[in-house]
């Protein structure tokens, strides 16, 4: 293994590969910042460039750099505009955006950069240690367990996103799952719920839905109430203040430690990935925090920002484990990377480490360098990035709307997509008026296809729903999901009962 690390070091520190890391991170950050262009589309676009390099290690290093850069750029737009271009940074906007609106945009970006760096670095070290061993853990998972695991993820998200209104959050999750069934699935040969409309055949695109749920309502709110944006303008003067206090740093350390580990292991599980890791990370930290800190969550909490940022970067690194050791992509992004590797005549799998150690270790080491580049490159750039808040409202709002339109259009090259965007955006705005959480809807939509695929596979294998009780791990996970959903309501009811016995009025 030591020999492999040395080969990897020499490969990763060649001038060409160092340039690849820097170029990848820069391209990724700038494009990822535009709401709507996520890492998947950027990597897909960069594949021809990477393949033309001819060197598999350099190609993979470039693409991995783009991946990190895009995730980081996504958090920047989540914090500054509340317009996450990437599903994995949706949780970042929960606390990052309120913080930016309080005039602490600079601090929020620094915390995000430090948390990403720590998460990615710890993830890279864990990858080097656990990559061989972890493959056997992931191998134990059956499609029934994947199904159960996703149900756990969805109920956890609903239980924690709803702030006491679990039924509303679950309703949104179901709506997301329903939207995911529109169009042609991979497993059934035929379109569903398209009502003969050709443009619905390929389903609703994730980018369109993400834009409609987050960017468009926010832009409309800015239009409706000018007071919202004038508060944001006040922050442009405070962006010079990039530092966070020592006390805030001390708060972040345990969060970063826990979330690096948790995020990494969630990232290893195929199908889970950065999105679930960031939401679960947010939820777990919120539950661990003391009641005083819990109130801050959603209003610009340091912990609430550091948790998803650490977790999503750790998970990005973790998602390379199944790709490099098993040849199974754990997420859409790593699936695209797999395609690029095969085009370069490299077959990732258990033999990659012995046959071509320079690729395996160069990628792992360049991940560490990539994180360093992001920190060194992005921290000085933060004041310039944050200038976007100083653009006059009359110019900014049409541009936000234009970028949402472009994001939806580029993904599908279909003008009908724009009409779907406007329709869903109006729906999302109304839902926001009534305090329905929108993140569960989006996550339900993203996981919907995978959830059904795994459900289908287990049903086929067991010729019926027996897998639910015949596999102890599946049953255990599903019980956990049920507990997660019922617990908040139960706690609230008990608190009310307690208040009543003490003779305190309930308030309604």
């Amino acid at each position: 293994m030591l020999e492999g690390i040395l080969i990897g070091l020499s490969a990763a520190f060649s001038i060409q590969n160092l340039l690849m890391v820097i170029a990848g991170c820069l391209i990724g950050t700038f494009i990822g910042m535009l709401p709507g262009l996520g890492p998947m589309s950027i990597i897909a676009i960069m594949i021809p460039v990477a393949i033309s390099l001819g060197d598999p290690a350099a190609a993979l290093i470039l693409l991995a750099g783009v991946y990190y850069g895009a995730i980081f750029g996504g958090s920047t737009s989540s914090i500054l505009l509340n317009a996450p271009g990437v599903a994995g940074t949706v949780a970042t906007s929960f606390d990052g955006y309120p913080m930016a609106r309080k005039g602490q945009a600079g601090k929020a970006l620094t915390i995000a950069a430090v948390a990403s760096f720590s998460g990615g670095t710890i993830g890279a070290i864990l990858l080097a240690i656990f990559a061989p061993a972890l493959s056997s853990v992931a191998l134990l998972f059956h499609s029934a367990e994947y199904f159960a695991l996703m149900v756990v993820g969805l109920s956890a998200i609903a239980a924690f996103a709803g702030s006491g209104q679990v039924a509303k959050a679950l309703m949104m999750t179901i709506l997301g799952l329903m939207l995911a069934t529109v169009g042609e699935g991979a497993i059934f040969n035929g379109a569903r719920f398209t009502f003969g409309v050709m443009d619905l055949q390929s389903g609703i695109s994730f980018i369109t839905l993400a834009m409609a749920m987050f960017a468009l309502p926010e832009a409309l709110f800015l239009v409706l109430n000018p007071a919202r944006s004038s508060q944001g303008d006040g922050s442009s003067g405070a962006i010079t203040n990039l530092r966070f206090s020592r006390e805030e740093g001390r708060k972040m350390v345990p969060v970063i430690g826990r979330q690096s580990l948790q995020g990494f292991f969630i990232g290893v599980l195929p199908g889970a990935g950065a999105t679930i890791a960031s939401f679960l990370g947010y939820a777990v930290e919120r539950n661990l925090a003391n009641p005083e800190e819990q109130k801050e969550f959603g209003n610009g909490s340091v912990k609430g920002l550091a948790a998803p940022e650490t977790a999503n970067n750790a998970a990005c690194t973790g998602s390379f484990v199944p790709l490099l050791t098993l040849g199974i992509p754990g997420s859409g992004t790593t699936a695209i990377l797999l395609g690029a590797l095969i085009a370069l005549n490299v077959t990732p799998g258990p033999r990659l480490m012995t046959d071509e150690p320079q690729i395996f270790w160069a990628v792992i080491i360049s991940m560490y360098i990539g994180n360093l580049v992001l920190l060194v490159l992005n921290l000085p750039l933060i004041p310039y990035i944050a200038k976007i808040l100083a653009i006059p409202r009359n110019f900014l709002i049409p541009f936000i709307l234009f970028f949402t339109l472009m994001g939806a259009y580029i993904g599908q090259n279909n003008a009908t997509e724009l009409l779907i965007l406007v329709g869903l955006g109006v729906m999302a705005t109304v839902l926001r008026f009534a305090n329905f959480p929108l993140a569960p809807l989006l996550i339900g939509f993203i996981l919907g296809t995978m959830l059904e695929d795994n459900f289908f596979r287990s049903m086929m294998l067991y010729r019926g729903p027996e897998f639910i009780w015949e596999r102890p791990m599946t049953a255990g996970l599903l019980i956990l999901a049920a507990v997660l959903v019922v617990l908040p309501g139960f706690r609230a009811a008990r608190a009310r009962a307690k208040a009543r016995t003490r003779g305190v009025a309930d308030g309604d």
């Binding site: 209104q165 179901i174 724009l418 109304v430 009534a434 459900f455 309501g489």
Partner: protein, 163 residues
């Protein structure tokens, strides 16, 4: 009835329609050999529609105590929606719909410049020259980025001027 319960009512209606399609309209298209499968294309939607109905009724009938929080200064209170710049918001939405319909026939460059200028004008900007210059520059830059760098085709000019 509060807005969230109205939404729940609409959701229940939506679940009924969705469930109707799943339970009664979808299985007719199955081929004979598919009937022997333990799972059909309609299985998952059926489960979803039942869960959705239960949850929708739960919210509709108000089983869950929701603390009605007073909206803050920057939050929007939908009960007095007309106090806000509703006209501007609707105008921009209409503009987006118009953009969707004119993007292909009129070409990217012209439509986008007009969209950005009209959008700013709707919001009350009156520095016309600045608006036109900014919009034209931004449009040209985005077009160059998308078309030349990313290689995604966007028809730049109106239909009667070739591609």
């Amino acid at each position: 009835m509060a807005l969230d319960r109205w939404i729940a009512l609409i959701f229940v209606a939506f679940c009924c329609a969705y469930g109707y399609v799943a339970f009664f309209a979808m299985d007719g298209a199955l081929r004979p050999f598919e009937l022997r499968n333990p799972i059909w294309p309609s299985t998952f939607p059926k489960i979803l529609s039942v869960i959705g109905l239960v949850l929708g009724m739960f919210v509709l009938l108000g089983f869950e105590k929701s603390e009605e929080s007073q909206p803050g200064a920057t939050d929007i209170d939908y009960r007095r929606l007309t106090d806000y710049n509703l006209g501007q918001a609707i105008g921009l939405l209409v503009l987006m719909v118009v953009y969707a319909h004119t993007l292909r026939p009129m070409g990217f460059l012209l439509t986008t410049t007009l969209f950005l200028v009209t959008g700013s004008a709707l919001l009350g900007e009156r520095r016309w020259l600045l608006m036109i210059v900014v919009a034209a520059l931004a449009t040209g830059f985005v077009w160059y980025l998308v078309q030349q760098v990313l290689g995604i085709f966007l028809r730049p000019l109106p239909f009667f001027m070739g591609n």
